[in-house]
């Protein structure tokens, strides 16, 4: 079986998983929409105009999805909000994956007291409910996009570390690692050249799923007011005021929530599909 047919088999497995394909398509569309928000959005998302407030969706051509309590265009805010949510999701995911992979790699490869120490630390961090940790820190720092992404990332890496460590422990048993040592390769070379290419698959799966959780977390802390600050729009903080107007203007609360749900769903389906395609061992 050549390299090409192997790739074809993986793609074939992935394609059979219809929700995963839908998820992939949706993710691509969402990313494109976020990327081209400035082009697609009919209005400036923070532009106020109280003369056009509370328009219902599909009633005015200029404001296809209506306007909110300050006259801001909902569609534009959704697009820019998506940009923000995706940025935070991706940066948080990068932080999580880098930290988790590093800890898992070092812990799994070196073993011994380093492993014990790091894994005890991971166990202890996992005792704290994530939202508690997140909010305590979020409430006391100045919330910028970077700081929010970082704290979400730094409270989510523990599971990734465990997954990667388990994978490394399994890989260490393989002869090719011993072969590298027999050739005289040092620890760094083995970790980087031999082990890392083999953990790309589980990392990819974990990364995709972590984007989903990061977006959920960002939307919650923004909703509470400790995340993305107005006037910058995020799907979460669009909900903060929207709940007060649900009786008369329900769309203000429905649209952002639906967008969050669809985005998170897409990443979840994509991640699940990737997991099934790349590693039959982990098939759920």
């Amino acid at each position: 079986m050549s390299a090409r047919t192997r790739r074809q088999t993986l793609i074939g497995r992935f394609m059979r998983h219809r929700p995963a394909v839908l998820g992939a398509v949706a993710v691509v569309l969402l990313c494109l929409a976020a990327l081209f928000a400035p082009v697609l959005a009919p209005h400036d998302p923070i532009e106020l105009d109280t003369s056009v407030r509370f328009f219902a969706p599909l009633t005015h051509l200029a404001f296809p999805l209506g306007t909110d309590e300050l006259g801001r265009d909902t569609l534009s805010r959704l697009l820019y909000g998506g940009q923000i949510s995706l940025i935070v999701g991706l940066v948080a995911m990068a932080t999580t994956v880098l930290t988790g992979a590093l800890v898992g790699l070092v812990s799994g490869y070196y073993g011994g007291w380093i492993d014990t120490l790091l894994m005890r630390f991971v166990d202890m961090m996992l005792c704290f409910p994530q939202i508690f940790l997140l909010l305590v820190v979020a409430a006391f720092i100045t919330p910028t996009l970077i700081s929010i992404s970082l704290i979400i990332g730094l409270t989510s890496w523990m599971e990734v570390a465990r997954i990667i460590r388990a994978e490394i422990l399994h890989l260490k048993e393989q002869d090719f690692v011993q072969a590298a040592r027999a050739l005289g390769a040092g620890g760094i070379r083995i970790m980087v050249r031999e082990l890392m290419p083999n953990i790309v698959a589980p990392l990819l799966v974990a990364a995709t799923l972590k984007v989903a959780t990061a977006i959920l977390l960002e939307s919650y802390i923004s909703y509470l007011g400790y995340g993305v600050q107005p006037p910058l729009a995020s799907w979460g903080n669009m909900l903060t005021n929207a709940q007060g107007y649900f009786d008369s203007e329900p769309w203000l609360a429905i649209f952002p929530g639906v967008m969050i749900t669809i985005t998170v769903m897409s990443f979840n389906f994509l991640g699940d599909g990737l997991r099934d395609a790349l590693d039959p061992r982990l098939r759920m």
Partner: protein
């Protein structure tokens, strides 16, 4: 058996200490520090802050502070609230029953439903039910809990008026069980949504694991009917890793409870946390962070003991 419990308890002590160190570090690393509520207040002078520091012992070296704080913690003195000066531990414990009620109800539903869905999915693998169950679980996991709660309130409580929109009791109805249950339903269902979805996925994979073992084939060869096979043979073996997962998922349950309580105004620890955030009540915030962490350690211990009771191999190893 007692030896095993003893060993686990001894093993939990370093965890408690480590967790307290992390919590302490958190308190001091967060910019603004423990005195954020005062330093952010422009009417308080620098001298006042120095005096407050001395009162709270914050001018002493870090490790001394930690030891004093830890000693206080482990002897029940968790400090006092900034506003009102009430003992933090008491304040937290007052809210504990409400949270336990919510978490317990949600967990019960999640376990029952999740196990059933998982079992059905596993035993009818690749069927339409399995497909619906796995996809449905993934969809349920994607809902932002707080938004789902808000929607539930708006639609079921406000628009349709079937259920109360928040709180734990109507005024004057404390003690009325029916009233309590009416208030409990929505938050429980909302919290249970995500937990059930997660649990059904675990259960499905646990049952899949078990159903393909050789002893299941033996049971079938013995002529046992599917239901018997499922319940008497598959179930006890599948359930053990699930109990362990209960322990590890406790933090997630707390997080979910926080979100649910804040949306529904349920007077538990989660709601307390969100309120304390607004008022920058550090003592309560730290108290809750530590309390939940300790609770999780306890929960894991109990889960381990439960598994040891069910599985003699664990005890004897």
């Amino acid at each position: 058996m007692l030896a095993y419990i003893g060993r686990r308890i001894v093993g939990a002590i370093p965890m408690l200490i480590g967790v307290s160190i992390i919590g302490f570090a958190l308190m001091h690393l967060a910019p603004g520090g423990p005195l954020a509520v005062y330093t952010l207040n422009p009417t308080i002078t620098a001298q006042d802050i120095e005096r407050i520091k001395t009162i709270f012992g914050l001018d002493q070296p870090v490790h001394i502070q930690y030891l004093k704080w830890a000693a206080g913690m482990f002897s029940g003195n968790w400090g006092y609230t900034f506003f009102g000066g009430r003992p933090v531990l008491i304040v937290i414990l007052e809210r504990l029953p409400a949270t336990l009620l919510l978490m317990g109800s949600a967990l019960s539903i999640a376990i029952l439903l999740g196990l059933s869905i998982g079992m059905i999915g596993a035993s009818r693998r690749y069927s339409i039910w399995d497909y619906l169950a796995t996809t449905g679980a993934l969809v349920a996991l994607s809902f932002p809990t707080f938004w789902f709660g808000l929607m539930a309130i708006f639609i079921l409580a406000v628009d349709l008026g079937w259920l109360p929109s928040g709180g734990m009791y109507e005024l004057g109805e404390e003690g009325n069980i029916v009233d309590l249950l009416r208030h409990l339903i929505l938050p429980t269902l909302v919290l249970a949504l995500v937990i059930t979805a997660t649990y059904s996925r675990y259960a499905r994979s646990a049952f899949l694991e078990v159903l393909h073992q050789d002893y299941m084939r033996t049971a079938r060869a013995k002529g046992l009917r599917p239901r018997e096979r499922l319940f008497r043979h598959a179930f006890p073996n599948a359930v053990k890793p699930l109990i362990a997962l209960l322990g590890t998922d406790l933090p997630i349950l707390f997080s979910g409870a926080l979100v649910t309580e804040s949306v529904f105004g349920w007077p538990g620890m989660g709601r307390l946390f969100v309120d304390a955030l607004t008022m920058k009540e550090y003592p309560i915030l730290m108290g809750l962070v530590m309390f939940t962490a300790f609770f999780v350690i306890l929960g894991n211990l109990l889960a381990d003991v439960a598994i040891a009771l069910l599985d003699p191999r664990v005890r004897l190893s």
